[in-house]
Each structure stands twice: as C-alpha cells, then as structure tokens.
C-alpha cells in the first residue's frame, strides 16, 4: 500500500484528507471521532473574537440539490462561524492536539478587519499547539454583512494587510482561504502571497439559492417566509473549484504557492484530480456531512490503490503533474482532428446521440434502417456532445485522425501542431506578420 503521508507547509499528516472548517469540526467530540475514523487533519470550525458568541438562525440552515433517488449533489448553508465561546474551543483544541500529535490541527479564524483584533487572538491560538491557522476570507453569508469573511476576500488589499498582521503576530504557517465569489481568483491569491501567506486554500462556498418555494414565493432554506443566499458546496461545485485551483497553480505570480484544495471532494478520484492540479492536500466537508466520517476510508484505500497501480510511492510524485497541461485556448492544437465513432455492438439504439446532434449540433449522425446510428464524417466537428449524452460508457469514442489524412469535413490534410496565434483567420496573427 502506497504511503499517503503528506507534508504540507511542514505540517505532516498520515494522509492528505483533511476535514474543512465547517460544522463537522465544531467541537472536540466530532474531531476526536473524525481522527479515530482516519482523517489526516482537521481545520477547526472558524473562531471569532472574544465576547458574546455569534447566534445562528433557529430554522433550517441548509438547502440542497438532489439527483435521482435523492443523491445529494449540492448543499448550501447559512450557518455562521462557531457559536460557542472562544475559550471553550481553544481548550478543546489544546486537548485534541495533545492526544493526536500525528494529525494536523489548523485553527480557522475570522475576526474584525483591524490589527488589534488579530493581535489579540493569535497568541491565544498559538497556545493551543495548533499546527497553523487558516484565515476565513471566504464565507459569503452573514459574517460578510459585518465586514468579515468574503467581504475581506473580495478586496485583495485587505487580504494582504490581514495576512501581514498574521505573519507578524503568529510564527506558524498561515493559510489564506479564498472566496470564489470574485471575478478573477488570481488577484486574491497574489495578494495573499504578497502578504506573506504560506498557502492558500480554496474554494470557500459559492453564493447560491438552491430552490425557491413556489407556494411561499421564498428562497430555500426558508426562515419564516424569507430566505437569504447561502454558500454552495458539494459535488456540484467541483468543476468550478478545479478551474480556480488550476488558475492559481499556473499563474506566474502565484506558481509554486502551496494550495489546499477544497470544493466537492467526495471520492479518492476527486482528491487525486485536485492534487495533480497542484494541491498539496484536500479538504472535505460535504461528503462527510452526507455520509459520515467513515467515507475517508474509501478515499484512503482508493488513492492508495491508484498510486500503487501508477507506481507512485509518495504523494509529492504526482502533485502538480497536470498543471503544465492546463493552457489557454489559443494554444490548443487546431490540427488535432477527431471524429466520433459509434460501436454498433455496444449501441443500445436509444437515439440520444441522434437527437442531440440533429436538434442541437451539426446534423452529423444519421439514423438508418433498424435504428442504426452512424456518424457522418463530412459533418462531424468532433464536439463530443454525442459522447456526453450516450448512456453507454465507451460506446461512442473520439478517434484521432492520422497526420496526412484528409478531413472529409474540411477537405484539408491533418497537419502538424498549429494554434490560433498563427492562424490566418486571426487578425492579431495577421498583424504580427505584416
């Protein structure tokens, strides 16, 4: 079995699976159970400043999107940071870290955007023995209305400023957690790095309304006839998170900045995808909230099996391996030509490929006698929609045309690599040539 031990910012954990700062990590009882179940690390539910604890709504805190058979695909929440006294959390963290020295324990923090507030809390957190801190600049609901959470995360200058305070008053690793509710994720990441952050973690949750109750005419979750946007997470947000992670990983100004990947990690494969895009580890919340702490066992066994099969003996051998292959559209090879191929032995004759292509794409699939569906190469632009809608795995595949072969659609020979930057139709390219 492969060694899953990870070293993230010098923080060692037996595996790369950490529980994200969220309801599952709100107290000692849960965190001990999580560690006993096998989680490699925990980011404690966000701590607030000393004083009267925050209050939460007393109606529903979560909304959800389901697939068939109520498989939970997306979850949103309007819960705030911990609503327990600061000292209670600190005492519990101290005990837990002492009893689980081999596990990562990170303190998530959200206090008002002034130096005094940070200066006040950081030494107290340090006393707990926590391995590092994570700055919650991400929560998009509730706390953001009070100038914290995503209200900070949306202003790069604030990110840099607060990160600098933290580096000044705290001597262990500082992770900056980013909000996705921003146009360009690279800017807050650059600000974090400029402020001295040791790492960024992303994504926090996305502004969302999961449903609208059509009787009450109110968003869900509904509190006494009203609703507020919540933070969206779970499997549905993974593609957004992967893209944002990749942007930071390949951006020159942030390249090499350690990343803790968050956003819909549900299986070992999700985790592996985040890690090959540059994440040193992953943080999980919704999967645990849906299935309980035991899910980590599948993540551990799955990642180990995959590493064994691929010959990886440690996680650092594959972290970031896919980053060089994330590029801009303009560099994609326009002479890479494929055609859809339908395996008639696997085809079950549902005709979804035909309906999709005929109605919404390029009329490149013919429906022949006996419901035999065949690709018309003269029309096929290789869009992949037929592959995506086909219910049978591997029934439709994209087959690459050999160099030198003539594409029956364009009548042109398949040539060597060439991209948009040099394409004759590109006005920019033409100008450069003049």
């Amino acid at each position: 079995m492969a060694d899953l031990t990870t070293d993230f910012l010098g923080i060692r954990s037996p595996n790369p699976f950490w529980l994200a700062s969220a309801p599952p990590t709100d107290k000692e009882y849960n965190v001990r159970r999580a560690f006993d179940a096998g989680w490699g690390g925990v980011v404690w539910k966000t701590l607030g400043e000393e004083g009267p604890p925050v209050v939460n709504v007393n109606g529903p805190r979560y909304g959800a999107i389901w697939g068939a058979d109520r498989r939970l695909l997306g979850l949103n929440n309007i819960e705030l940071i911990t609503d327990r006294p600061l000292q209670t959390n600190l005492d519990e963290m101290t005990r837990v870290k002492k009893d689980y020295p081999d596990r990562a324990l990170i303190a998530s923090i959200m206090v008002p955007c002034d130096e005094e507030s940070w200066k006040a809390i950081l030494p107290r957190v340090a006393e707990t023995g926590a391995d590092g801190i994570e700055l919650n600049f991400g929560c998009p609901h509730g706390m953001s209305e009070r100038g914290m959470g995503s209200a900070v995360g949306q202003v790069p200058e604030y990110i840099q400023m607060v990160t600098e305070w933290c580096k000044k008053y705290y001597d262990r690793p500082v992770i900056v957690k980013l909000t996705p509710n921003i146009t360009d994720i690279r800017k807050p990441a650059e600000a974090a790095r400029a402020g001295g952050a040791d790492a960024v973690s992303l994504i926090n949750t996305i502004n969302s309304i999961t449903h609208v109750d059509l009787d009450l005419m109110a968003p869900e979750p509904t509190i006494d006839g009203k609703g507020s946007h919540g933070g969206y997470c779970g499997p549905a947000v993974k593609p957004i998170a992967l893209s944002m992670v990749s942007e930071i990983a390949r951006n020159q100004a942030t390249h090499g900045l350690p990343i803790s990947g968050i956003g819909g990690v549900t299986t070992w494969r999700d985790a592996a995808e985040f890690m090959v895009l540059g994440c040193g580890n992953v943080q999980v919340c919704t999967a645990a909230m849906t299935y309980g702490f035991k899910v980590v066992q599948e993540m551990i066994s799955g990642l180990s099996q995959w590493m064994d099969e691929k010959g990886y003996t440690s996680t650092d051998q594959f972290i970031g391996q896919a980053v060089p292959n994330v590029t801009d559209w303009q560099y994609l090879n326009l002479n890479y030509v494929t055609k859809a191929r339908i395996d008639q032995d696997l085809c079950i004759k549902c005709g979804r490929c035909y309906a999709a292509c005929e109605d919404t794409s390029h009329q490149a699939i013919g429906m022949n006698e006996g419901r035999v569906f065949e690709v018309i190469d003269e029309e096929c632009v290789a869009c992949n929609l037929c592959v995506n809608v086909c219910p049978v795995e591997d029934c439709i595949t994209m087959v690459q045309m050999d160099k030198g072969a003539v594409d029956p659609r364009t009548g042109r020979e398949v040539g060597d690599y060439a991209n948009w930057t040099t394409h004759p139709n590109n006005p920019g390219a033409a100008k450069a040539a003049e």
Binding site: A68, D69, I348, K349, C350, G351, Y354, A355, P391, V392
Partner: protein
C-alpha cells in the same frame, strides 16, 4: 378454514381467510412517489422511442415518464389518456413484457427495462384519485351512435365519440359494463373493483348511456340499430368458447376457464369458491395461466397446465409462464388431450404426447393420465352470432381501414374484429381509431 389443500375432491375454504386475502391482493403494489421518480429516472428519453412504436395505442411513453420524474404525475396521466382512455387498466393487464418493456432499450442493454407499466399505473392512479374527468366534451353534434359491447373497444370508442360531441348508447349483454376488464382478468390484476371504478370515471365525459343485459341478436339487432342511429360500432368480443370435442368432456367438474375466471371476479368472497385438490387446465394462453394460478391461490394442491405444443409456442408470455410456475403450477407441454375419464365427474384426463415434425403436430402414441378433480378448458374463444350481412374473415368480422365493416355505417373493433392481437390495449386502439373514423365520416 374448514378444509385444506389435501381435502379430496372439490372444496371451498382450502386456505385461511388471511392467506386468501394475501393471495388475491394486488400482483404489483403501486409505486409511491419516490419509487416512481427513481424508476422514471431510468428512462433515457429515447429519440423516436421503440417503446412507443411497440405500444398498440402509441402512448408517448418517454414524455409521460419525464412528467412523472418532474413530479407532475397528473400531466403524465393526461399524456397517457390522450392516447388510451383505459390507460389505468392497461397499466395493470398489458403484457408489457412483450410490448413496451420488451422494446425498451434498457431491456436490450441490461435485461432490466424501465418499469413502464408500473409507472403508467402510478400516473393514472394519481389522476383518477382526483375524481374529476380530465377531458371536456365537445359541442353537441346532434349525431347518435350505437356501440355494442361495453368492453375495452366499446368504451374507448364511446369515450372518443363523446369527446367529439356525439351522443352514444352502449348495449352490453352482461349485467355489468367492462367486458373482459370486469369478467375476464385474473383478480390479482384488477383489485378493489377497479374495472367498475374505471367505467364510472370514463363516463364522466358525459353523453354516454349504457344499457346492460342487452344481447345483440336477441334484444337488439343490427338492422334496427343502423336505422335508429347515425353509425354503429360493434365491439362485443368473443362470447363463445372452443370445445374439446372429446369423450367425457361433458363430465361433471369440467368447465370453461373463462367462466371460472368470471366467477372469481364476481365472487363477493373468494373463500366461498370451491376448487379441486388436483386441477388440470388445458390450453397455453393467458386464460389458461389466469385460471391455473388462481386455482393454486385458492388452495388447490396440484395444478397442471397441459399444452399441446412446445413451451416456446405458448401464447402466454414467458413472464406469465414464470408467474405460474412461481405459484406452483406445473406446465406440461407437448401433450394433447384424448379423453376425460370419470364416473359422473372427472377423475383424470388422458393425454397423448406429441411431437412437432416439419411444423405438423403429431401424436406419439404414448399416453399419460393426470388425476383431476376439476378440468378447465382454455383453448380459445370464438365469435358467436355474427349479424347477417357482415363479411367475416377467419371467424371474425372482416374490417378495412379504421374498423370499417362490409356494411355501410357499421364499424367493428376489439376481439370480435379480424386482425390485431386479442389484447385490451389493442381493443382500446381499435375503438379509438374507429371513433375518429366515424367522426370524420359523419362530420367530414
């Protein structure tokens, strides 16, 4: 319970009241809302879907299933009833395994079709439970049409005609409307008086009168109907049964399976129905299976279906055959009856083994006697009393196009008309299509 399955001869109450109630409960309990949505999610929403082609009434199955998936079963039911006003009964009795579900691409892909029949029942049950009729009658046309037979063909025809604004009078020979839905289907397929409830619901369209106890040729005749009405639709089914024509087939405790099935359906309490300890059912179709299975459910100790050809030639679907064997019915094939023996009442039935050589069935000379306290004939029904002046084809009323008979102004459909399988759903399609043709002919 005064008797047991081992009580000799013919006896009622072979099983406890609880066992009987369980045996005659719904064969397929309805899907609840969540089950239906999960089942609906399996539908691929095929292009030009094979299931629709396979449905004699051409229900838009992918559409109604998607309507269930989006939690609008009432809209789904409307999609079904647009094509098949007896979609509720068809959901219960259609041999879906040889129709829509056989054609389902998931049957081909994984041997497990989308449960179209049960989904159809889910949708139709939901709408019918609301107790309001989903269709509105058209403006009165002043045309009057006579329909003979209140079975699936007649009811379907009458409903479509009423929708068009015509006035319809249905004449039916039996005391209750419904035809085979009421008298000819195994009890566990139509529970809680569904056939009558469905007729009542269907009549909600208005403009339809049913006169029961009126036999064509006895109480009403075709020539009078032709002169009294603007058009006539004949959908009286097959009232006669084929006889064995064997020595001893008039002995006591021999009967037609269709009568036994009707008695079961009309029984206020199945516990009162006597059944033999050893029962033999001769035939290989749905009627044979319905009779044989219900004999077992009543507590018969041994029940044998005896069919003259090989099992692959049985008219009963494989699904029905498996239903029978799962209920403990033995299916004996390649045996043809040669005599019924007994002294006053049947004691055993003698069969000769057969072989099919070059498509011809021949006796092998070897015989076997199967003990029987009761013997049912289920070797097919025939049309009785074809009205004069109507051409026939293969013993049924000859039709062209949408059920046009050789007599002007007279249409026919369902089992009494030539062509098409003798299925409820086929009868519904034929009645509906004849109604459209009648309407087009009368209104132009």
């Amino acid at each position: 319970m005064t008797h047991s399955p081992r009580t000799a001869g013919i006896a009622a109450q072979r099983l406890s009241a609880e066992a009987l109630a369980q045996n005659f409960a719904d064969l397929h309990p309805p899907l609840d809302g969540h089950e239906a949505r999960v089942a609906a999610d399996r539908c691929y929403f095929c292009h030009d879907a094979p299931c629709v082609t396979a449905c004699p009434t051409s229900i838009d199955i992918p559409l109604f299933i998607r309507q269930i998936a989006t939690e609008t079963p009432e809209a789904a039911a409307r999609t079904i009833f647009d094509q098949n006003i007896l979609g509720g009964m068809c959901a219960r009795v259609c041999p879906t395994e040889t129709l829509c579900e056989e054609a389902c691409v998931r049957e081909i892909a994984e041997g497990k079709p989308v449960e179209i029949g049960r989904l159809q029942r889910h949708a139709t049950d939901r709408l019918m439970a609301r107790n309001d009729h989903p269709f509105e009658r058209g403006a009165p046309t002043g045309k009057r049409i006579a329909v003979v037979g209140a079975g699936p063909a007649g009811l379907s025809c009458a409903h479509r005609l009423a929708m068009k604004g015509h006035d319809v009078v249905i004449y039916d020979a039996r005391p209750k409307p419904g035809g085979l839905n009421e008298y000819g289907i195994a009890s566990y397929k139509s529970t809680e008086d569904f056939a009558q409830r469905e007729v009542d619901w269907l009549l909600g369209i208005g403009g339809i009168t049913i006169e029961t106890g009126k036999v064509l040729g006895r109480d009403v005749d075709l020539s009078a109907l032709r002169s009294d009405y603007d058009a006539v639709f004949l959908g009286m089914g097959l009232a006669g049964v084929n006889a064995l024509g064997l020595p001893g087939d008039d002995l006591g405790n021999t009967a037609d399976a269709v009568d036994f099935i009707a008695d079961l359906r009309q029984a206020a309490d199945v516990a009162a129905l006597p059944v033999g300890r050893d029962v033999v059912v001769i035939g290989g179709g749905m009627t044979a299976v319905d009779a044989a299975v219900q004999c077992r459910l009543l507590g018969a100790e041994t029940v044998t279906i005896a069919y003259r050809r090989g099992q692959d030639r049985m008219a009963a679907s494989v699904y029905e055959q498996e239903l029978a064997t799962a209920r403990g019915v033995r299916i004996l094939t390649n045996v043809q009856p040669v005599a019924v023996h007994g002294n006053g009442a049947v004691r055993d039935v003698e069969f000769e083994f057969t072989a099919e050589i070059d498509g011809r069935l021949t006796g092998t000379g070897e015989t076997v006697r199967i003990p029987a306290d009761q013997c049912f004939r289920a070797i097919g029904q025939v049309l009785e009393g074809v009205p004069e002046g109507l051409k026939t084809e293969g013993g049924k009323i000859a039709v062209t196009g949408a059920g046009r008979t050789s007599a002007e102004g007279v249409w026919a459909g369902g089992d009494c008309a030539a062509g098409g399988e003798d299925l409820t759903v086929t009868a519904v399609a034929e009645g509906r299509d004849a109604a459209e043709d009648i309407h087009a002919t009368l209104i132009g």
